[in-house]
Symmetry: C2
Subunit: 273 residues, 2 copies
């Protein structure tokens, strides 16, 4: 029998943290169906009270209290949310007191996340990195390639672009990418454009069947999307990575988040903000 | 007196969740300096033991135990990490038992986050959205604009591109963007290219001083980067948004994450994965 439970993510910021940890926890309960709603930017007493109403109504209409993941920095708002008829997992309430004890100081709820100057710097670093990645997408230009933090290399549709953009947005990393075309793969040498930057190269591989499915979407029934083409391109690319000692990873079962963290580790890169 | 404390983020996945909630908590302690290290993908007993060693050595050399934010799904690995000489904030240990009680079932640690089929679907949605956003960056094409989930509109350098890419990567949203050039701003009408999609439009504004600083970086001492130019372009853009009833927000003090969530709310968009 499948049970459905209402899940509320409540936050005075974006709610992303509450969602992430909530999903990680809910993932452990595969037999239950969850119905989710996120209430971000609950940053006034009025908004908090209206969320409490919504939660209470859900509890009543379901005849069962919802589960609320609450990530609210502001103490006053947290106290209002607490009144809601829900099983509450409250990150700040649970951990802030413990941390105060360990650090032997009181928390100062005055300042508020990434705002102000910190935000501007973060924004600039992101902006610069995103522009860099866009200007160096698909090997369009070797201009300023020496300023790249990393250059992702792989066959067409192996996942380079989303990974580069994620590295730029999440970490401010300047990630260029270079697509290995058949001409490159036939040569024993590294492609001319990236050869001077060998130490910045990172390779992406992918399962041939998965690559075929992706390419088939894009250009159905072409040579490009034949399984044999995919197999031989991937095999040539891997040989190239091994021959030149370029670190590489298989993207097939990895999310963009996981790929990004793998690359940071392998290339010893640090976030720029 | 500034105290320095060692912070460890330990995870059997990317560590992003541990970092996010850890940073939100540490942000509340402004007088303490934190030295951070993240250990992602700690997914074997061997790796776990080597992290325990690192933490223990840090405790010894500092004469004070570090603080560890631990987000480890696997129970065996969690038990190993627990031996480390650190003040530990452990998300799964703290909340999983409570959730089991509330849901009245035992957690099944078998399945593992975004892997497998779920990952493939998520990847496809992202890929498609990222490609869409790249193909519709800076108003380069009105092809398929009717397939856009949202079209961000604003003057040059108001933050459209990073926001579009973030919406695509994080939520699978197809976000196009259209830069308002002086010709557009002089007209009382909406730009021809986006006029048919009025209900999808969302406007971005920005503080003139901030815009000037960004433009100055790009084209120093040009008309484009003069404060008067920035002021009048922004004012014209805001008038346009108001005249046509287009929802808009000021990007100046918002992170890309916050912008994205604002836009989702205002446009009633749902994540595509």
């Amino acid at each position: 029998m499948t049970v459905t439970r209402n899940i509320f993510y409540i936050s005075d910021r974006t709610g992303l943290t509450a969602e992430n940890i909530g999903e990680a926890l809910l993932n452990q309960f595969s037999n239950i169906e969850f119905k989710r709603a996120t209430y971000p930017f609950i940053d006034t007493a009025e908004k908090a009270r209206s969320v409490v109403d919504i939660v209470n109504r859900a509890a009543e209409s379901q005849g069962r209290r919802p589960i609320a993941f609450v990530s609210v920095v502001n103490n006053e708002i947290r106290q209002i949310i607490k009144e809601a008829n829900a099983f509450q997992i409250n990150f700040f309430d649970t951990f802030l007191g413990e941390l105060e004890k360990e650090l032997d100081v009181e928390a100062t709820t005055a300042h508020h996340g990434h705002h102000g100057i910190g935000n501007t710097q973060r924004y600039d670093a992101r902006m610069e990195a995103v522009n860099f990645s866009l200007n160096h997408d698909d090997g369009v230009s070797d201009k300023n390639l020496k300023e790249a933090d990393v250059i992702l290399m792989g066959v067409s549709r192996s996942g380079k672009t989303p990974t580069c953009l994620y590295l730029a947005l999440q970490y401010g990393i300047r990630a260029a990418n270079y697509p290995l075309i058949p001409d490159d793969l036939e040569s024993a040498d590294l492609p001319r454009m990236v050869k001077p930057y060998k130490e910045k190269l990172f390779g992406l591989t992918i399962q041939p069947e998965r690559l075929q499915a992706i390419r088939q979407e894009r250009r159905p029934n072409s040579t490009y999307s034949k399984i044999d083409t995919c197999r031989s391109e991937i095999s040539d690319a891997q040989s190239m990575f091994k021959r030149h000692g370029i670190p590489f990873t298989n993207t097939t079962d990895k999310s963009v988040e996981e790929l990004a963290v793998h690359i940071l580790q392998a290339c010893k890169l640090k976030r720029r903000f």
